[in-house]
Amino acid sequence: MTAENSFYGPLEDPAGDAGHREHPPRMGFFTDTSVCIGCKACEVACKEWNGIPEDGIDLLGMSFDNTGMLGASSWRHVAFIEQERPLGRQDAGLADLPVGPSSTEEAEEVVADALEVARRGGGDLGTAPVDLGFPSFDLPGAGTGTETRTQFRWLMSSDVCKHCTHAGCLDVCPTGALFRTEFGTVVVQPDICNGCGYCVSGCPYGVIDRRPDDGRAWKCTMCYDRLRDGLEPACAKACPTDSIQFGPLDELRRNADRRLAALHEAGVTEAQLYGRDPEDGVGGDGAFFLLLDDPEVYGLPPDPVVPTRDLMSMWKHAGVAASALLAVSAAVFVRGGRR
């Protein structure tokens, strides 16, 4: 790790920085959620290819999402978000129907209760809803329960490990089980992992996790074995609408920029790219997204930061503290010398 931005900030070549000399271009995912039809072929293809165990047959009630979140045995997760707002110029045809208050808040509360007791391999799901101060369509204090639904949209999105430029899991792994591949992706080797779990707290997205019966940490490998044979990952191959695009990262970034511009022109002003920016807290994601709302809506952290961002300054502070301690100790000895 020799580059100036080995720990934080834009880094052009993570594979090279990790020690690969000659290596192929950095590969990644661009998940365009605007064309996701929520079919979950990605979830099934991933499980079939990688032999991942079943992860809980339980009705979560999170719209059509019964997976809940990424975890040790869920490496693709399709989220469904029902919202009382329009999508671009689409019309859900609700105006003039005799509709009443929305169900989404009630659903959220019940869902939260159900999630707490749902069986999950290796981790907890989100708990009770927290007011993050999102803008709402009510005037403060004006809610009387007689609001009516006038707009509706249903967002669908396939989440995956971000294969960050600066990967928190990779940085903290003490055994070397996690490593940076020649494709710039991040892979955990199950035959080396000792299940210490440091990586779980190191990931700013909450992706990697441990299997309870097994103990080891598992996550998406971007089908490393398929990449080595020149194939695309299973999820990208299965996706019927090309919501999951796979290819060289810079090509994907150009596609994404074009797609974003096209959506903005079509009136979908809330479309935004997430994880595309090399200046962000993880140096940009190897798997980045086009979202149709703020990341929090999808259960994604709005400002993910790799924990090693502060590594240098932590060491500097530790160094300063150590020197100060030495200096003070020395001063004590010098001062209190001959008595």
Binding site: I37, I57, F64, A95, V99, V111
Partner: protein, 875 residues
């Protein structure tokens, strides 16, 4: 409409997404907001079962504002033709057409004929029983004399011309009426009309997609007719980017009707002979008719070749090519009738279930299981141990005491089946495309393909019957059964060769149905598939990428007929053979070369010029003029008005579903006057207006599919990766309904009809919206129907809620719309369940006659259509 394409056909839906990326606008009209609606530019919530009112409104809008594609309509449809003076419309008879017989609840269609081609009176009862319309297949029934020219008014003004009759028929389907009946606000409805008409015409075309949401209704065939009329009026049929996409209900079911196991059809949509057909000539007259246009004129070649394929050398001209070996139908042998015969006993003793799970997948699950419990033997072939194989120990009727395991007399044989990757063969999908699949893996253990099973069955039956002198055994003994085999495994590609057709003189495959002969020198298993093995090459195995062929993928797989991709594409050019527009050119006449050419294989005789006029007295293919784009139709035209062929009317008419909370606002005739009801104690119906107590079941119920599961669930509930994606049966309700009935998200509730009650988890969602229907608020509920008692995820059978009432044209059950009640908490179990449902029936005043008083129009005495000669069924 009637389709949830993104969820049910996700791979096909990628092309809708692609079209959207190129600027196409998507409109989704459906009772609920689905994953398809999430990508639609416009969603319209519709009351289930009111699609004809909506489409009738669109037709009315088009005709009132003169927005039809006039040149197309005049040239290619029967709009100018004059109708018989005897014709009376639903406007005259309070919702009925002329010729109705309330005794048999059927029509004598003779008064619907063209003035030039009068038909003899013929009571409709027998035709209704054998589902005659389904038998006529692609050509419709015959219009005698249609080839001879039909009296018409090209100005489309004569009051008896089809154009004016259609206009009058739909004149009351105004936007106000659409709002009152369908619950669709007028402005929203008009937005759809504007979008549809503005995107049709010379320069633009609009495609219409439908699926099982249209077919599973007591007026299902008329839903589709209504869509066809709109598309014909707008000039969208046979044109690129237009047309009607009939998305089928599961993989290869298109093949299951092309080469059918249906009681009233032979391969290639030739009708099954009935008891009136004494010999081959009579039968062929029935198919070809006299003095008519179109390719059904060559039915003798298709039929004789089929008989030669079945009976080989035993079939000769002297014995009518063994025509007498074919069964003759004499009534309703449809699946529901047959199951009822099982229940009643004495008629049906054995049952083969091949990849079919009626205990979960067919309407009226209890009826299905009681039928299966009353057989001598039942053979089940499937990939997993399905509910239909284990009903004798785990059916819901075990719990209620209606089936007792120790006393159930049915002997069940289960044969494990090979999956589609363990055998080679073709799938025929919705776009009529045959695609060959190679075998990827050898089946393990005792698993065998369907092909092996039936081939072996034939071999062993022939062995058992060998030497028999009984005439009854000759049809089996004389079967040619000469497919190539490797060991005991028949060769699928040889079977496909036989389906394609073989020239018996040379032993080589024919190139297409034009090569088939009526003199016994060709054999062909399915004339519409003829050409799939042309040149001894398996055309269905081709996989030339779309980037290497033209826009119509002509070298990927093989579509019938003769690899044409867009049917009736002659209509993409004007009567002079020039494309309607440069932008929408598909096929056109090349005057220099003297042939039709273009981007697709022309669906027309290659060298017949556009200005060709057939000579006097010609019939069949020879009678088609150069502008008869609809080459299978007996008059060469697309039908706005169907003068024959449909059991329930020449034009679609809004009828309320069999079970409905609303009175029909347009006519006194409440429901389809010809629908097939089965009035028996074990098949009760919820009351519908004008019957009293319909408020006992106040909500509209509809059911459909989820992407994550497959039909009756045998292929998905067993798999952990699918079971965990949709782990439980649930019922979707709107927040408004949840408040009204005290339902809470993820709690238990049960849904009740007059058949039974089923448990489900509650999902409260904004995607369900109540409707204002004629001033009342109507709630709709939805359930997925995939669950049964076996597998990693179990649940009640939703089909147990649904009774049997069927469309009279094709005998498909009405399972897309009924009425129901929903209550919080779980249902009673065991005998208490029977008492609970009986109490509902008492409160609703349900008797065997409920729902069977079909004719409710003015002046009709209420006659109940019940099976009074059937034994009473203890309930």
């Amino acid at each position: 409409m009637g389709s949830n394409m993104a969820e049910a056909h996700p791979v096909g839906f990628q092309w809708v997404i692609e079209a959207k990326a190129r600027g196409a606008k998507v409109i989704h009209i459906d009772p609920r907001f689905t994953r398809t609606s999430a990508h639609a530019d416009q969603h319209v919530t519709l009351r289930a079962g009111t699609d004809i009112a909506f489409l009738g409104g669109v037709i009315n809008y088009i005709l009132m504002h003169d927005l039809d594609f006039r040149e197309y309509v005049r040239a290619y449809t029967n709009a100018p033709f004059l109708l018989s003076e005897r014709y009376r419309d639903t406007e005259d008879l309070d919702g009925l057409f002329s010729g109705y017989d309330p005794q048999t609840a059927s029509y004598d269609a003779s008064s619907w004929s063209y003035a030039s081609t009068p038909m003899d009176e013929q009571p409709g009862h027998h035709l209704k029983e054998v589902s005659a319309p389904y038998q006529h297949g692609a050509g419709g029934p015959f219009i005698e004399g249609a080839a001879g020219g039909i009296e018409s008014d090209p100005a489309l003004e004569h009051p008896r011309c089809v154009f004016q009759v259609v206009k009058r028929h739909f004149s009351r389907y105004t936007p106000e009426m659409v709002e009152r009946i369908c619950g669709v606000p007028q402005e929203l409805f008009l937005d759809v009309c504007r979008a549809w008409t503005e995107n049709s015409g010379r320069e633009r075309t609009t495609a219409l997609v439908y699926s099982v949401g249209w077919t599973q209704h007591s007026v299902g065939a008329q839903f589709i007719r209504a869509g066809s009329i709109v598309q014909l009026l707008l000039g969208n049929i046979g044109r690129p980017g237009g047309g009607i996409f009939a998305l089928r209900g599961h993989a290869s079911i298109q093949g299951s009707t092309d080469v059918p196991t249906l009681f009233n059809l032979l391969p290639g949509y030739l009708p099954m002979p009935d008891t009136t057909h004494e010999d081959l000539a009579t039968y062929l007259d029935g198919v070809r008719g006299r003095g008519q246009k179109g390719f059904w004129g060559a039915a003798d070649a298709y039929m004789v070749s089929l008989l030669k394929e079945y009976w080989g050398d035993a079939a000769t001209a002297e014995n009518d090519y063994c025509f007498d070996y074919l069964p003759r139908i004499n009534g309703d042998h449809g699946t529901y009738r047959t199951v009822m015969d099982m229940v009643d006993g004495g008629k049906v003793f054995g049952y083969f279930l091949l990849g079919q799970n009626p205990a979960v997948g067919s309407a009226h699950g209890r009826l299905q299981r009681l039928g299966m419990a009353n057989l001598d033997w039942l053979v089940v072939r499937d990939l997993a141990m399905i509910e239909s194989a284990t009903f004798w120990k785990d059916a819901p009727e075990i719990e209620t005491g209606e089936i007792v395991t120790e006393k159930c007399r049915t002997e069940v044989f289960f044969f494990p089946a090979a999956s589609h990757v363990e055998k080679a063969g073709t799938f025929t999908q919705t776009q009529r495309m045959l695609q060959w699949r190679d075998q990827a893996v050898e089946p393990s253990g005792d698993q065998r393909s369907e092909l092996w099973f039936f081939h072996q069955l034939g071999v062993r039956l022939k062995e058992k019957l060998a030497g028999s002198a009984d005439e009854r055994d000759r049809p089996v003994l004389d079967l040619a059964w000469d497919y190539e085999t490797e060991g005991d495994e028949p060769s699928p590609s040889d079977v496909l060769r036989h389906i394609n057709g073989i020239d018996l003189n040379t032993g080589r495959t024919v190139d297409g149905y034009l090569d088939l002969k009526a003199d016994g020198t060709t054999a062909c298993g399915c004339w519409i598939y003829s050409g799939v093995y042309a040149g001894e090459t398996n055309q269905s195995r081709r996989r030339t990428s779309r980037f290497e062929t033209g826009p119509y993928d002509a070298e990927w797989g093989w579509t019938w007929p003769l690899n044409r991709r867009v049917l009736y594409n002659r209509a993409s050019a004007d009567p002079q053979g020039r494309p309607w527009s440069e932008r929408k050119k598909l096929v056109w006449w090349d005057a220099e070369a003297g042939e039709w050419t273009g981007h697709d294989t022309p669906d027309f005789e290659k060298n017949k010029p556009p200005d060709y006029k057939a000579p006097e007295g010609a019939s069949g293919v020879q009678a088609l003029d150069g502008d008869d784009a609809f080459i299978m139709m007996r008059d060469g035209k697309g039908w706005l008005f169907a003068p024959a062929g449909l059991a329930d009317g020449p034009m679609p008419t809004h009828y309320e579903p069999h079970e409905s909370p609303m009175r029909n606002l347009l006519y006194g005739q409440q429901g389809n006057p010809v629908r097939k009801v089965y009035g028996r104690p074990d098949n009760p119906s919820n009351p519908a207006p004008p019957e009293a107590h319909s408020e006992v079941f106040p909500f509209v119920f509809t059911a459909a599919r989820l992407t994550e599961h497959h039909t009756a669930g045998a292929m998905s509930r067993q798999l952990p990766y699918l079971a965990e994606l949709q782990p439980e049966l649930f019922v979707e309700v709107s927040p408004e309904l949840a408040v009204e009935r005290g339902l809470h998200h993820l709690d238990w509730a049960h849904v009740i009809t007059s058949r039974t009650a089923v448990d489900a988890r509650v999902v409260v969602t904004d995607r369900m919206a109540p409707l204002r229907v004629d001033g009342r608020v109507v709630h709709q509920v939805w359930m997925p129907y995939h669950w049964g008692q076996t597998g990693l995820t179990k649940g009640d059978v939703v089909n147990d809620l649904i009774g049997v009432v069927a469309d009279p044209n094709v005998f498909i059950q009405e399972s897309k719309v009924l009425t129901c009640d929903v209550r919080p908490g779980r249902r009673p179990r065991g005998p208490a369940l029977l008492e609970y449902v009986a109490d509902y029936r008492r409160r609703a005043g349900i008797t065997t006659e409920t729902g069977t008083r079909i004719a409710t129009a003015d002046g009709h005495v209420e006659r109940a259509h019940i099976e009074s000669d059937r034994p009473e069924e203890p309930s």
